[in-house]
Symmetry: C2
Subunit: 507 residues, 2 copies
């Protein structure tokens, strides 16, 4: 793109050292500032926050169109409310281990959640009677209120969501957007008359995810997590994973089908058509700022970010070229072009700073603005603007059809980003090397390669799964919702199956 | 408005018992649910949250137009950062008491803030090395980062804002929106080259407040708080007070001019044009969900809320009247009217529930929807819709000019709300009874009446002020920014002054 020599100065190579490139770029592009004195709690800077709010705006739209209503629950949750949840989780866990119906077991305490939360035990100079914790997610808070809101089948389905920050006392290494201690979070919670209606909700959630990810230009893997990786309290969990440049997967969203398990723990019932009390069936759907982490990671290059046009805070930046001795007022032409584009609904910025063009290009490249329009005196005379696509390529575009031309170019840029990331995913996903059994011992014929995700037909046992995980050092993502079209013999048992299982190194 | 007999059932009388009416109505209109098990932390229900987000949207607009950028800071603040702030506050306090230049005093510790915050001293099963607290406001968090962002005069003015929740360990009686422990908050923080530029910012803030309050249809009092009521660390504070129906004032916003006091405590400097390091001058401007508390309190009546059209989640609700034996499809006519209004930028809901009209009217009255349009078969035949204004009055309006007619009626409704609240404020503000001094003893000639705010010319001493507060049992709001037009003798000292001081019972 004809960058001045200094353009890439200081930016680590993405291909050679993604682990250095990523943290560098989130700060250099001014998305966040990591110098706030608590590890894993970044300051969102204006450009980063604008981008996240664009993603949020797409989510709000989807929620509106699917009949969800926005609520806002308190941050703090009294410890005693957690007891119902802990008991539920412990009972389900035990039922799984013992292979019995969870309804046949009694509640027992489990300290699972308590290890991951921040505690408020003091206020002012007082010690609180009942300790409270900062929400790690809002099941407990919400399901305490649901029984007050749900009376009869007329109140169902109840579909609410909120966008709030959640908190996890993270002990692993933190990374901006990917693993943080204060998380910008989205959570939808629904209650239904029965299991079938709750299942329909999960399907709707997966459609929403597809539409959103298409706008972020990111292909995804949707996989029903194995039992041992199911969210505590859930009947099943579907994880939605993006693929990062290094081949690791990043769970950016998840849906949980709860059946009536939480409803039983929190006593959420409704009067059905036969005037009988019945427990509701529930689902949740969560996403987080990891969506932005995936965008940063997948689309960027050695010059900086590349923002998908649907979420770019500025879709177009116009740089008027100022030539001494020229009488053409390129600034006012730029302003009027900007005005025309804005009226067409585009997000446009005019960079009329008194700086060398190379410096401006550098700034907007690192921030990943999809399209730059340079307007110099000669362009004005020729009735064109000079378009430089952040994905590569330059071309003059005619002023008189500028709105439509810019829209077309932005669509092109989205398509390029989609094609690139889809190709990356195609390259990364490989068939799993064969396993052979000799005298009860399994051996893998071939090697696991860094940076790959493996797929294979699987209808084996938990023991088979354990062998695979141990041998490969990778994690089961679960059963992809895209099955194999035709039955194939299971990788381990040989049983014919369409189940397509994925195996990856995860974030 | 021809409500069915049951319409007002259960709603306490606002005039007779405002203290019962207010908490009843915030729940009956489904703004919040107070049954969450932490006192002073309400759940925002969809209708309340939508309303608050409309107010927020107006604020975002104002910020955008005045060149402020949105950021988002972490919730948690490590205790050691607070030490700078406490030392500053203690030093300023001591300087005031001793009447000396604060720069001549050294820092000393003060536990002021510590008494009002929630503490996080534990995470998981660990005790933290450095305790953290939930933000009560973000000076400390932000001014820790400002030195990293401000290098030279080119970085100034720095104008940022955020909308976040803040936390106060409130020991007084809580009231929805008015006094809560988790506060939906807006805060703008600015840094400037000098005092004069910071002062210009304060003027801009006051203009923003005026525009916002005009949209909320609420007249306000802007008063420079007396020294003893100035925000800790501020050079001066301007409080913005709404007047509630019972004559008490509610501070809904405030601006603080900090001079370079915080900059000195946090070492925020810039390189000026002479290449010398200089401290910035700072301001803040804060608002909160109290804005909604004022809207609820001032505009509502015995049938429920009345939403100012600029913030009403639904500005218009259309009720199709279904008559048996009529062939007119009033639902589809209603939908097409709604569509037309929405295209004109209005927020419209069609209530096609299969309910008795009286029940629908009741629901939308209690929620304060400004305008209801009833569309029955006869209306369709006559080419009109029947408009019922929430402020009173009904009239048919012609379908063929419906968008303009509805806009006009909404403007009328805003004007009625403005006129009503302005009249209320006029009635409430009275001249303060005379004080006479005999042998060094002051006596008030007359009585203070419940529900009044008092104004008077004042240029007296702190002793005079104390006499007035003690005698009346009221609080100095400070010097109104609207002074008297002509000099008048001070209420106590007799010195001629334009200073117009206000005295009220405050929330």
């Amino acid at each position: 793109m004809g960058k001045p020599a200094k353009a890439k100065r200081g930016i680590p190579s993405k291909v050679e050292d993604f682990n250095a490139w990523y943290p560098f770029i989130v700060e250099a592009a001014e998305l966040v500032d990591k110098r706030y004195p608590i590890k894993g709690m970044d300051v969102w800077r204006p450009y980063g926050w604008k981008t996240m709010r664009q993603i949020d705006a797409l989510t709000h739209q989807e929620m509106e169109q699917t009949g969800h209503e926005e609520v806002n629950f308190p941050l703090l949750i009294p410890e005693d409310l957690l007891e119902k949840e802990n008991a539920l989780v412990a009972r389900l866990k035990r039922a799984r281990e013992e292979g019995v119906d969870p309804d046949e077991l009694r509640d027992e305490d489990d300290a699972g959640f308590k290890k991951e939360v921040y505690w408020v035990k003091h206020a002012g100079e007082n010690e609180l009677d009942i300790p409270m914790f900062l929400r790690p997610t809002s099941e407990t808070a919400m399901y305490t209120m649901f029984p007050l809101w749900i009376r009869s089948h007329k109140d169902l389905p109840l579909k609410v969501y909120q966008m709030v920050n959640t908190f996890r006392y993270e002990t692993k290494q933190t990374r901006s957007f990917i693993r943080v201690r204060e998380i910008h979070f989205f959570e939808a919670h629904t209650a239904h008359v029965d299991e079938a209606d709750a299942t329909r909700q999960i399907h709707q959630d997966l459609e929403i995810v597809d539409r959103l990810m298409d706008k972020l230009c990111l292909p995804i893997i949707k996989a029903k997590r194995p039992v041992w990786d199911t969210f505590p309290g859930a009947h099943y969990t579907i994880g939605i994973d993006a693929v990062m440049p290094n081949g690791r997967t990043l769970q950016v969203a998840s849906c949980h089908h709860y059946l009536d398990q939480w409803a039983k723990a929190f006593d959420i019932t409704y009067e059905n058509l036969d005037a009988k009390q019945q427990h509701v069936h529930q689902t949740t759907y969560g996403m987080s700022e990891r969506l932005l982490g995936a965008v940063v990671g997948m689309h960027g290059d050695d010059s900086g970010l590349i923002m998908p046009p649907d979420i770019a805070p500025w879709q177009v930046v116009i740089c008027p070229m100022i030539r001494k001795n020229s009488e053409v007022d390129t600034v006012s032409v730029s302003m009027s072009v900007a005005d025309k584009l804005r009226k067409g609904g585009l997000r446009v910025h005019v960079d009329d700073r008194d700086l060398h063009p190379g410096q401006k290009y550098y700034d907007w490249e690192i921030k990943g603005v999809p399209l730059r329009l340079d307007i110099g005196p000669r362009d004005v005379e020729q009735g064109t603007a000079f378009a430089a696509k952040r994905t590569g390529g330059k071309q003059p575009i005619p002023m008189d059809t500028i709105l439509q031309s810019v829209r077309d170019v932005l669509d092109e840029i989205s398509d390029v980003l989609r094609a690139r990331s889809l190709q990356h995913m195609g390259n990364v996903i490989q068939p799993l090397p064969k396993f052979v059994e000799t005298n009860g011992e399994w051996t893998m014929i071939g090697e696991i390669q860094e940076g790959h995700i493996y797929e294979f037909p699987f209808d084996g046992t938990d023991v088979h799964a354990e062998v695979i995980e141990r041998t490969t050092g990778l994690t089961f993502l679960g059963d992809a919702t895209d099955e194999f079209e035709q039955e194939q013999p299971c990788h381990m048992s040989g049983k014919p199956t369409k189940r397509r299982v994925l195996l990856a190194k995860t974030y």
